[in-house]
């Protein structure tokens, strides 16, 4: 097996949006249509989209891109896990999975066969605030793509047998995930513990215990209340004729009824005061995984570019303060970083790393020292200049493929942002000044005193260490839920 990422800095999502799926769309470089400047700064511009609003409220954005014979789309259906009723976490996720298990004239098998047989791809993920549908087809199969997408959204079968199978499989997958790489799963524990009863605390994938309670009635109710033409943003990018495709899409999606309920809105989130620690026991762990953070910023925060630069320096690249201290200088870990998850309301700003069980305390202390001194000192001019160059240099590759551009168009429309978010990004980065960034650091980077910590590791060896950082709540990795239950012992 290949050892990938010989030197990966922990994925530090620069202003990652979690409204949609959290799949990182790997790729480099930009579209054919950016402004070429004579300076060293190669800016990337979002291609101009043909925009249509259908009578039912659906928003369509189309961009022709002819370099390769492909067509890609990104559809967002506003609602997502925010539409999960209390206690029914994972309902959006189950619904999302079932959309792919038979629709229109095709049963589950025929639907899968229709996608696979033309080399297409189609996936639905439950995002925090939207269902996120992605697809890629050969250009010659555009009509089939439109048919499958509209069937899936408007005419899903929600077959009872498929539902039972899928629900059971999702429960098993959640359990099996705990045997794998915990770098992904720890975020779910963090959000559950940090946001508590707020909808952002809900596991998007549901939990083993909540999934088990879901019925077909729940799914039908969710689809009726949370899915409809008025909730849809659809961006398509690729090798097609926009006029013709617009007609096809209007014919296919124009008849989609509106959702029966108003779109759910997340209540505001606030930074939490004081410290709290969740210790998740995994008795066979030889390594402790940790996140420490608080509430950060929303996707539309006016300081988002400053925060992105601040995050780059703290934990968003290989030479970041965190990775330098914990990996490069001390060899305690393979990766340390920080991340900003931004939704309509502020999501978490967290630092994260992992280290062998024996050095848990050392690594945590070091990470918190870096955090504290960063809040105090910010960055010097040379570091700021480097961070600007880095962020600018790495931006174009995020808008290279049809799928990346489609996802960006949908994301901007979802948050009510316009193309300036991309087109003026370079100018905003270039113009960022130290005093303003320092202010953003003070406001957004968590302080050492106000912090939520989550540790997954061998509790019998790290329990005493965990107590140093605050009141500890314990649970087990085998618990069928991600949040400690009200009865959980505080130690």
């Amino acid at each position: 097996m290949t050892v990938l990422n010989g030197k990966v800095a922990l994925a530090a999502l620069l202003m990652a949006s979690t409204a949609g799926a959290q799949d990182s769309k790997a790729g480099q470089a930009p579209t054919a249509q950016q402004a070429r400047k004579a300076s060293v700064q190669d800016a990337v511009k979002l291609p101009k989209a043909t925009v249509l609003q259908l009578k039912n409220g659906a928003k369509l954005l189309l961009v022709e891109k002819h370099e390769v014979p492909l067509v890609a789309f990104s559809a967002m259906v506003r609602g997502g896990a925010l539409g999960d009723p209390e206690g029914k976490e994972g309902l959006a996720a189950l619904t999302a999975e079932l959309l792919q298990k038979g629709a229109g004239k095709r049963d589950a098998w025929q639907f899968a066969e229709a996608v696979d047989s033309v080399g297409g791809s189609l996936s639905v993920s439950p995002g925090r605030e939207a269902l996120d549908v992605h697809g890629q087809f050969m250009a010659r199969d555009t009509a089939l793509m439109v048919e499958l997408l509209s069937d899936m959204l408007m005419r899903p079968r929600f077959d009872a047998a498929e539902l039972d199978k899928m629900r059971e499989r999702m429960v098993s997958e959640l359990a099996a995930q705990k045997d794998g790489d915990l770098r992904g799963l720890i975020g779910t524990y963090f959000q559950a513990f940090h946001f508590g009863a707020h909808p952002y605390g809900r596991p998007m994938s549901g939990s083993e215990s909540s999934l088990a309670t879901l019925t077909r009635e729940d799914v039908l109710a969710y689809a009726k209340a949370q899915m409809g033409g008025d909730r849809l943003i659809l961006s398509v990018v690729g090798d097609f004729d926009a006029k013709k495709l617009a007609k096809q899409l209007e014919a296919a999606l124009g008849g989609w009824a509106r959702a029966s309920a108003p779109a759910p809105v997340a209540p505001p989130t606030q930074p939490a005061k004081g410290r709290r620690v969740l210790l998740v026991d995994k008795p066979d762990a030889t390594q402790t995984y940790f996140w420490a953070g608080n509430t950060g910023i929303s996707r539309t925060d006016p300081s988002r570019v400053d925060v992105s630069l601040a995050n780059t320096v703290l934990g968003g690249r290989f030479t970041s303060l965190l990775n330098t201290a914990l990996r490069v200088k001390s060899g305690l870990t393979y990766g340390a970083g920080s991340l900003v998850l931004a939704n309509t309301q502020p999501g978490p700003f967290a630092i994260s790393s992992y280290t062998k069980t024996e050095s848990t305390g050392q690594a945590l202390d070091m990470a918190l020292d870096v955090l504290a001194s960063y809040r105090q000192q910010g960055m010097d001019d040379a570091t700021l200049a480097s961070a600007k160059a880095y962020v600018l240099g790495q931006f174009p590759p995020t808008l290279e493929t049809g799928l990346q551009i489609a996802s960006k168009l949908s994301e901007l429309a979802f948050y009510g942002l316009d193309a300036s978010d991309v087109d003026e990004f370079a100018a905003k980065v270039g113009g960022a000044d130290k005093a303003r960034i320092q202010a953003a650091i003070q406001r957004v980077v968590p302080s050492r005193e106000d912090l939520t910590l989550v540790l997954i590791g061998k509790a019998s060896d790290i329990r005493e260490v965990a107590r140093k950082y605050g009141t500890v709540t314990e649970m087990s990795i085998t618990d069928p839920h991600f949040a400690p239950q009200a009865s959980a012992a505080k130690k």
């Binding site: 097996m1 050892v3 030197k7 190669d42 370099e67 250009a139 098993s172 359990a175 026991d281 174009p396």
Partner: protein, 463 residues
Amino acid sequence: MLRQKLLVTGMLVLAGTAACAQGRSSRTETSATAASKPGAQVKTKTLKNGLKVIVWSDPDNPSVSLFNFFRVGSRNERPGITGLSHFFEHMMFNGAKKYGPGEFDRVMEAHGGRNNAYTSEDVTVYQDWFPRSALETIFDLEADRLSSLAIDPKVVESERGVVYSERRSSVDNNNAGLLMEQVQATAFVAHPYQIPVIGWPSDIESWKQEDLERYFRTYYAPNNATLIVAGAVTPEEIFSLAEKYLEPIPAQPAPEPVRTVEPPQQGERRVVVRKLAQAPLLQMAFHGLRGRDEDAPALDLLVRILTEGDSSRLHRRLVEEEQVAIAVGGYQGAGFDPSLTWVLVDLPPGGDLGKAERLLDEELAKVVSEGITDAELRKAKNIVVADFWRSLETNSGRAQALGTYEVFHGDWQKLFGATDRYEAVTREQVRKVAAKVFAKNNRTVGVLVPEAGSDEAKKEAAR
């Protein structure tokens, strides 16, 4: 940070099985002409010291991907220095003559660049992604480490901790990785493909300074590398930068070839891992093909028919119909030497390993005896075509594809003819390769059996 549970599914391209196919026949009139003359934008030059440079220009892109392939991987290791190729990859970022420890990354990022690298059984590949403006700096950085790496003993000690942490993440605390390591080590009795790329723990802790220095001299020679650049560059400027910065680095004697040939397997091997776990795992590894084997496209198509997508045979049977599994994955190794072809089955908690294996046996026997249908063959070819175009949508994808074909298939131009090779595969060829690879005597079966916790763990649970 969210990784594929079955890490291997995303790695086909690394192993040189990158799908390639035609699809030109179906191009619409509006499609660009870029692909209509395959390889027209690719130019190559071999420097006096034997370094081959391959450039794919795409003036529309303001960024650049530079990949440097070295022909060294865990296949070149032996007991005592297992994992050294990968560890050496880490050391390549840790200081040279002009740019000291940490400077390579600091300078590159300050110029807007990002880098990474990966090591496999066969190759070590260094990757830089940067804006055009950083071009000359990148060449200066690359030349510095290739000509005069420092290998500071203090850094070596610190980096052991980093690599051990990487091992804990991908193997020791990741059941699928743990089992794969055991299966691979059991499948080979002679060939160094038995060695895990990350290395055995005791070797991570004890390889020596002179091992690293010998590695640098032997394998990090321009004549053992292939440099690929894709993006907003002209071939002329790349060739002249390569001549200025890289040509002065002297060639070295060619490394000793790997001579060991794995003897034919004459009966199934089995390996069991028992540990605390939520769910069991089943893995099968079969001795398969070299990347350049003429049957490799047929095997690639076969593995896709079995495991790719919800309509694939194994997904349909094991996951949907019988519900003995929650996921099925396939992976076709395609290295310099005959490599393993894998089938990976994730079971639900409490899942029945015996039943999963019986069903898998049945499906493999069926494909051996009855072959595949025309529709399945067409489907797999279509998936390959689409993957081909998707892989060429980015500078990175182009660099990876060119490097893979040049290094594993001996000629980058085969990238543009691969489509025809896939299109030419027949049902009979697929059935034959199935019979050859999926023979029971040719396989190693690995199972991970969940164990109840130790007494200590039980006490913990009761707290």
